[in-house]
């Protein structure tokens, strides 16, 4: 693959001065529709070399699966049932028997490289920045150097300039001029890109110049140091992120189980209901508000809360309220409820998973410290978890309702006797716990499956978190979740995911030995 890119970019840089709008020669396009992979990649290079906006359009269409070839070998761009001739730009009716041009990874790589190269000189800053990012993700390539230098020279934006300089240095690593190589090695000393390691490693042994070897060694150490630091920071972030997921999954349970003492085996299904509500919201938005489809989450949050709240209230009024004071029986009943809810979802939505897409603003991630990618959806979930916890804490500890809730859960009969309508409080509390589980479901839908079994995969973890934190202790739940997340993420690279999971379970068992009432155990007489 590499040599081809080389040609491609070399050609590109040669024709840069010619940048102009020229209609494409149909003969250039023809190989795209053919079967020969090498010819197709070469065609991409040649099309790109024309450098015009037509070329960009064709390449983009290729990426988007919008390029179609007629049996006659004519190549068309078809978008929204509108066909235009790729060569001439003339609108045409969509012909019968046209077949999509198949794009595989190799071709796609070539097209992306070509487009990035073209975009390096684009007027819009965003486009140039994206091009730089895309080039960063690709292998270093000495043939890029001239093009990159040109772009660097033209560039005005300091941020892009800095990144381009790094790209240039990277490309220069294999330059034949030792001075250029040395400059490149030195320039790369503040990179954190692990992909440079093999090359630098090779320089350590192959480089004839001792000074260069030393410089390469220094750069290598600097990179290694940065990589190691990023790894630790990465693990910290992953831990917080996993912790916040566990927390969102467990928070509702911290109320229904922790506070109310209901061994709520249907908790997972309430998460699932939240996730399915998200799915339904997404579908409704796609159907009725396609323009605002990316904002379905904004509607999904209250909707999921309310739906799960309502389901919770119905469950409480119909089943659970008869079981207060019989905590072990709640296990049986809620297990039954869980089976029924799962089957209900299977009947309505099918046994298969349904698709919930991250909105565009939650897709992708931000690159920090050079190489660490923090996905937006993870960041959003961490923030969201913090907000939900804060809200729950406020409600429980700073409002009269919260006081009543805690009082009823501790001594229902006496709370009744001092005038608290316990039935309503029970209903509200279970509803609240369920609603929060619904919110958790929204968050989970952004990370993983939305299917009938969604709840089952979180129920065990949720109970562990709540119990580890200390039943009835919100702060314990928070700390328990984050602690498990962090421990897990620092164990996983060392022990592997499976052993990490086993270790976590053992950690829980051992930890409970030390603190038989969980992390935030209440002490003293009040516990008895």
């Amino acid at each position: 693959m590499k040599p081809l890119f080389k040609n491609l970019l070399a050609t590109l840089s040669l024709c840069l001065p010619l940048l102009a709008n020229a209609a494409l020669d149909p003969a250039l396009l023809q190989p795209l529709a053919g079967d020969d992979p090498d010819a197709r990649v070469a065609a991409v290079a040649r099309i790109a070399a024309t450098g015009g906006s037509d070329a960009r359009q064709v390449l983009q269409a290729l990426l988007d699966d919008a390029l179609v070839a007629t049996p006659a070998g004519q190549v068309l761009i078809v978008r929204d049932d509108q066909a235009i001739d790729a060569a001439t730009g003339k609108a045409l009716p969509v012909p019968d028997g046209a077949d999509g041009v198949v794009v595989n990874n190799r071709l796609r790589g070539a097209v992306q490289a070509a487009l990035s190269g073209l975009a390096l000189l684009a007027p819009a800053r965003d486009e140039r920045l994206a091009a730089v990012h895309s080039l960063q993700a690709q292998d270093a390539d000495p043939a890029q150097a001239p093009l990159l230098r040109q772009a660097l020279a033209r560039e005005t934006d300091t941020d892009i300039k800095a990144q381009l300089a790094q790209l240039v240095a990277r490309a220069d690593l294999e330059s034949s001029d030792p001075a250029t190589r040395l400059a490149a090695v030195t320039a790369l000393a503040d990179s954190g890109d692990a992909a440079l390691r093999p090359q630098l490693q090779a320089m350590l042994t192959e480089e004839p110049d001792a000074a260069l070897r030393a410089a390469a060694g220094a750069t290598l150490r600097a990179i290694d140091g940065r990589v190691a630091r990023n790894e630790v920071i990465g693990n910290l972030f992953y831990g917080v992120s996993l912790g916040s997921v566990l927390l969102l999954a467990a928070l509702g349970l911290a109320i229904t189980f922790g506070l109310m003492g209901i061994i709520n085996m249907a908790h997972g299904e309430l998460l699932m209901i939240g996730a399915y509500t998200t799915y339904v919201c997404q579908s409704l938005f796609r159907h009725y508000l396609p323009g605002a489809a990316d904002w379905y989450l904004v509607a999904a949050l209250p909707a999921a809360f309310l739906v799960a709240f309502a389901v919770g209230v119905v469950l409480e009024r119909s089943v659970i309220r008869w079981l207060y004071g019989r905590p072990l029986e709640t296990l049986l009943a809620t297990w039954g409820i869980s089976l029924m809810l799962m089957q209900a979802v299977r009947t309505v939505f099918g046994a298969q998973n349904v698709e919930v897409a991250n909105p565009a603003w939650m897709s992708g991630g931000v690159t920090v410290l050079g190489s660490l990618v923090l996905p937006y959806n993870r960041i959003a979930i961490i923030v969201f978890a913090a907000l939900v916890v804060a809200a729950v804490w406020l409600v429980l500890n700073r409002t009269r309702l919260g006081l009543f809730v805690r009082a009823v859960m501790q001594n229902r009969r006496m709370a009744d006797c001092v005038g608290v309508p316990t039935g309503r409080i029970d209903m509200m509390t279970f509803g609240l716990g369920s609603g929060i589980a619904g919110l958790g479901g929204v968050a989970l839908s952004q990370l993983g499956n939305v299917g009938p079994d969604l709840g089952q995969s979180y129920i065990v973890d949720s109970f562990m978190v709540v119990v580890l934190g200390g039943v009835g202790q919100l702060a314990g739940t928070v700390l328990g979740a984050l602690g498990l997340g962090e421990i897990n993420k620092f164990l996983e690279p060392v022990a592997g995911a499976v052993m990490a999971k086993i270790c976590i379970l053992v950690v829980i068992i051992v930890f409970i030995q030390r603190r038989p009432q969980g992390l935030f155990a209440l002490k003293g007489r009040s516990v008895e």
Binding site: I263, L331, Q343, V467, V498, L505, I512, Q513, P516
Partner: protein, 374 residues
């Protein structure tokens, strides 16, 4: 409460004997009458009852700790599986060279390039040694785990959850090929037991009768225990553990005793289960399986001894029937059943059959609700 020394009332003895006899008669009918004869009982039915009896034994064991001592274990599947694996090791070795690779090693070991049995497989070709393992391994695991947990005074849900963690961890461990127990496929394709073909009708009947005998034996043993003063101490542990300490009992010892005993009984159930079902794999250790056991006990009637047996039969019987009769909707029926039983049969099936319950083991009136009593 009558303080006589007989385990059961006369009527209860009669019912028990009748049930045992009826159960023992099933395989006889299966063998004695040809297919199509009105008195013929299908091999499928006999197998099913045999399997249910294993479940019932496990439920009985669980009830001993949960119903009587108030220790809710969400990890009894582990003991069940350990017993089953211990027996399974013997059954695997009894395959001999009849496996796919024609090696004395089980197929999965050949496949993993193992040249020899790992140390923990030593002597497992001896039936009685494996039977010893059936009892010792789960017993030891339970004893050590229990000793630490009870010594730390871990109670209630905290205990339940760590038992769940334990079985979950074990499941993941057994899933791995490297652990040496056949990964998620576990042990299967057994050929013979004590030299007899495992599929031979005679062997099947023998296994069935052994299960029946052990189930009845376990019932009598449990009944004897809960009727003894020790039984009352156990209930004291359940209701007011600290009070018990202040009158001079060491709850640790009592809990450990009943916990280990229960684990061993459960393991025996597992050991009887493997040859009858023909497979053991780590999914038996999944948390959901252990919860299901709890459900059997709760449905049947916690704190009674016959209850769990009835519960295991009822739930599994219904499940067997539902999954064939309404494959698409059976979970609704089962779920609803669980809910209805909790709401309308507070003490499980057995608790609502007072006519029967009056002369069956271990029933006692309860204070209206926990809250009222507190």
């Amino acid at each position: 409460m009558n303080r006589t020394s007989s385990l059961f009332s006369r009527r209860a003895w009669a019912v028990l004997a009748a049930c045992t006899l009826a159960a023992a008669l099933l395989p006889v009918l299966h063998l004695a009458f040809p297919d199509g004869h009105p008195l013929h009982v299908s091999g499928y039915a006999v197998g099913l009852v045999g399997k249910f009896m294993c479940y019932a034994l496990a439920a009985l064991a669980l009830d001993l700790v949960w119903g009587y001592t108030g220790i809710l274990s969400l990890g009894h599947g582990l003991f069940f599986a350990l017993g089953a694996y211990a027996h399974g090791m013997y059954l695997m070795r009894a395959i001999g060279r009849d496996g796919s690779y024609g090696s004395v090693l089980p197929d999965f070991m050949v496949f993993l390039d193992w040249k020899d049995y790992p140390w923990y497989w030593a002597f497992t070709d001896h039936f009685w040694y494996c039977m010893l393992l059936v009892v010792l391994v789960p017993g030891l695991v339970a004893f050590v785990f229990g000793w630490f947990a009870f010594r730390s005074r871990i109670k209630g849900v905290y205990f339940s959850i760590i038992t769940q963690a334990l079985t979950y961890a074990a499941m993941l461990l057994f899933f791995r090929n490297d652990t040496g127990f056949g990964g998620n496929n576990g042990f299967t394709d057994f050929r013979r037991i004590l030299g007899q073909s495992i599929t031979a009708p005679g062997t099947r009947v023998a296994l069935y009768l052994a299960t029946l005998a052990l189930l009845v034996g376990a019932l009598l043993l449990c009944r004897w225990i809960v009727r003894s003063k020790l039984g009352r101490v156990l209930q004291g542990v359940r209701d007011a553990e600290s009070r018990l300490m202040f009158i001079g009992y060491d709850p640790l010892a009592f809990k450990l005793f009943v916990w280990t005993l229960s684990a061993v009984l459960c393991a025996v159930a597992g050991a009887l289960y493997v040859p009858q079902v023909g497979i053991i794999n780590p999914s038996e250790m999944s948390p959901a399986n252990s919860i299901e056991m709890v459900v059997w006990v709760a449905i049947g009637g916690r704190g009674t001894l016959v209850g769990p047996i009835v519960g295991a039969f009822a739930v599994n019987g219904l499940k067997s029937w539902f999954t064939a009769a309404f494959p698409d909707l059976w979970l609704f029926a089962l779920g609803l059943l669980f809910i209805l039983v909790t709401l309308f049969m507070r003490r499980g099936i057995l608790g609502t059959l007072p006519a029967i319950a009056r002369f069956l083991p271990g029933r006692r009136p309860v204070v209206a609700t926990k809250e009222e009593a507190a």
